[in-house]
């Protein structure tokens, strides 16, 4: 089970990366990034997963046997942070996409080669 999730995560990472490197439309590239991010998040969650244990939320379980019954809380915290960061990055990318579209009325990545050498 754990392996399947990890592999799925990495598959998502690769799909995202493929999207970033092959798509010509800026929006699709940005979508590639979000898939990439999601894949990493899945991998993260799966790493902290311990079979048969529950979420590290102290409301549902008693604090006494928390250590025995919850999965590793650290990756879960990391995932939360990572989602927030991913949101920030995506927002910024979209801002840039809007700016670029305003400028040249195009979202094709090949149209933005004014800077080189």
């Amino acid at each position: 089970m754990g392996y399947i999730i990890i592999i799925t995560g990495f598959l998502l990472v690769l799909i995202g990366l493929w999207g970033i490197l092959s798509q010509k439309n800026l929006i699709k590239i940005i979508l590639g990034f979000t898939i990439f991010d999601t894949g990493i998040n899945v991998v993260m969650v799966s790493i902290g997963y311990v079979k048969g244990k529950t979420a590290p939320i102290l409301d549902i379980i008693s604090a006494k046997d928390a250590l025995k019954s919850v999965v590793d809380p650290v990756p879960q915290a990391l995932v939360l942070t990572s989602i927030v960061i991913g949101l920030g990055v995506s927002a910024l990318m979209l801002v840039y996409a809007i700016k670029l579209h305003h400028d040249k009325k195009s979202l094709d990545i090949n149209n933005f080669k004014d800077l080189k050498w």
Partner: protein, 1043 residues
Amino acid sequence: MVTPIYIVAVILGLAFLLGILKSSMTRLGSILMIGGLVFITFVSGQWLYEFLVNHRATDIIYTAGFLPPYAINLQMGLNEAILTTMINIVGLLGGIYLLDSLKKTGINSMAIFIVFVMSLNVIVMTRDIFNLFVFLEISSIATGGLILLDNKRKAFQAGMKYIIATGIISNFLLIGIIFSYYFASSLNIDGLIAANLMSIKGGAIALFTIYVSIILELKPFPANGWGIDVYTASNPGISALISAGSATAALFVAYKLMPMGGSFWLPYFAIIGAITFIGSNLMGTRQENPNRLLGYSSIGQVGLILMIIGLSPYLGKDTLLIGFSILISHYAAKAGLFWLSGIIKSKNIQGWSALRKHPYLLFLFGTFIFALIGFPPFPSFFGKWNLIMALAAHGQYAWMTAILAGSFTEAIYLFKWLGYSIKLEVPEDITIKFEWNKYLPIYLMGILLYFMGMYLAPFTEGGVYINFLPLAFVFLLFALDFLPVYVKNTLSIAGIIWYMVRLFPLLEHDLMREIFAGIFLGGAVLTLVAGYAKKGKRPGFYPMALLMFSGLVGLIEANTLLEFFFSWELMTAGSYFLIIRGKRSMPHGYSYMLFSIGGAYAILFGLALAYASGLNISLAALGHITQLTTLAYTLLAVGFMTKTASLGLHIWLPGAHGEAESDVSPMVSAILLKAGVFGLMLLFFYMGTGTPGSEKLLYVLGWVGALTALSGNLGAVFQEDAKRLLAYSSIGQLGYILFSITMMTQLGWLAGFTYTINHFMFKAILFLVIGGIVVKLGTHNMYEMGGMIKKMPYSFVAVLISIIVIGGIPPLSGFAGKWLLYNAVIQKGWYFQGVVVFFAGVIAFLYLFKLIHSVFLGQLKDNHRNMKEISAWILIPSYILIIGIMVFSAFPQWVLKPIGNMLTVYFPKSLYWQGTRAFTSLGYWDGTTTMIVVVTAFTLLLGWLVIASKKVKRIGQFNIVYAAERPYRPETTHVSYNIYAGYKKALGFLVTPVVETFWENVSDMVLDFSGWLRRIYSGNMQNYALHVVLFIVVFYLIALGGL
């Protein structure tokens, strides 16, 4: 003590506060922003003070009430304090600099700005790797926002490229962090170090992913197109922050994560750093856009520091010092340069000549360039010195070569740029407005560089002995630059004389140094006297002349390798500025600088080998080179020969000396060239003839000397330009000197000294007088002169005496040199070389005749009828030197006898004195008697001539008696253009500029290669993303895939 956690808290608080302010309250917003930046600068500054002054122990700051690994901890030690202070200072200054732009874009951009600076602080301080990731992301996002500050097409594209690339990089970093956590159950850096990931199966891949991401953050070549675009297109104020601030933080990340992987990864750091350093600088050579150029340079410098981190096993405890020395130079110089670029707003580097109207900014520009290259007294000089010495001590010659090669390519474009800004016409479309908030940060960075140089000097072995007194005098002169020439001239002369009085008693018993000190400082005084002839202010001349002389005197005073090289570089810097002052000197100053830097690096390499041989910093180490002995001596010799302009390395000289100002030519010819001679003599003294390879080296150099003499003289013969003729003649004379001393006999060295002293005197006279005439007549071309003997009799006599010396005609001292030289040649048995030198001597007569004939004899030209004698200020030093020549000619034993005695320590004695008479096994010569005889005969003849000429009828210039036809134009009766046409036909093939062509081809090849290389930066952002991914794959395959 304010704990550094407030850096985060206060800035976050301010950022939220700024977020809720009304958008019209920009004034309040900017006060809050600057206030916040001042506060965090104060916090980090007070920690720095504590560490430096009170030697406080490193502090760990815990958060959230838990100990690590359950909570994040920050570390504040000396390193962190230094770096956060640096970051906050550049943040504060950058904030002040950008105030207008930030106000224009609104309060939100101010919030982003302070968050950006704060995030860099945390990146430096945090000991938690996930926290590190978060703040790297924050800084990336903030950077992405700040790039938008300039609402321009290129900025949009650059920003998009930046986010795409950093997005991929940080995702990889995150993967690495997760797996490190998976394997080591810790996110704390110290915990990860303790867990030793390399020993855990799979841990290596986790580490790889972290390292590759951190390296990619440093924009390694070639996966850095996105980084260069950001430098190019952002507001220069932002680029300054990225270059000085972000790079500083990212480098420290590499440094603090380094222990996690142990020694396995370090070579890869070093290799990637080296490739980046060389590749980036190489591509910079073709770049004309100032911001982009600075981008290339930034990336190159960061590569160098990454390399230093990678080489830390060889550098030991000096790693931090070396890294810091180079980092701080890069930091201050790059920030300053980007800020300057923001003021100048030019699209190409040619536009920077606008600085010519702003001498203080130009001075700062020069400061930054020299600091980047690693000239003294800047910190990078000490950094590079220590780096090279430490590498040599461990036998890491390939790394040394890589560092010096990269530095050289950097010099190629930086000095082209500096040359443009000093020499090109001021562009009309660029005006520099004074804005205090933009000037102040640049000035402060300039001051910081000088201060740090002085501060760091004593940390280097031997650095405490460096004498900064002459440099202080140079600064004083720069501060007084607004004064008229005669005041500064008097001050300079007084300063030099005072220094001489102080120096000579210290040089007792060291005749060689006394002689060279006499040439350097005595020559300085004499050539400066000629400066009284100049009017106005001569901006910038005196500080630079004195800089050169302080370098020269430093060579004399040097007791350690470090002092020697320090002075050598000061001299180079000063002379560069002197040479480039000439009207058409831009290309010549440039080639002089490139040859000098190349030579300096050869010398540095040689000195490092000397140091490595016994870990001895004193100059005497040159006598005990055991590491690559032959190579070391060869490199040192080649280095010194770039200054003596020996064949193959001479192409800079004719232009540099020929186009220089009239009183600069004697300085750089009569005086400066002797620095190379001094170096060679010193080298040969220490080398001796017994060291391995020295016989062969001396033999080859002997031939080089002989051929230099020949080609220099031949070059002079076919010149029409009076000053270039003299310049070529210098090449020839220096060839004689090299030839004589390579014989390594007492006679050879005596000849060498005699030629050195003679060349100093006659070349100073010739360049002073001919230079004066050239200025007066307004032409360099000898065929446009003529008949000056009647208008300028004193000049004529001075030139006549000088050419008698060069020609080696008795009774003057030139004959002494010749006599000694031929004795030495016969004694040594170097007959073939002797023939070449003899032939060169014959050829010398041709150009000497041409000089005096074309300028002084023949027919006066129509436009020169009202000419007067040249300024007395030029004639006075010339005649003082003539007195010197006369004394040396009549009483050569006064000088040559002590030199001979000194030389007997090193060589078997073969010259004996009996009163005024000098003996060798081949014969004798008596300077005094010869002088008496010749002077008597001359006086008698002259007397007779005067008496007899009373009856002579004087005739006018165009009297029919001159020719069969009546000449109206003087040109028709005075053959002076191409007078050696016949010889040219016969010998012209010998003066085809083979060497020039060779160097031109080399330079074309480098530029072509650079042009080809930079095509990988196609501008397509997807390609750049692909570069990043490929970099990861290739690095993986090489490091872990067994490739």
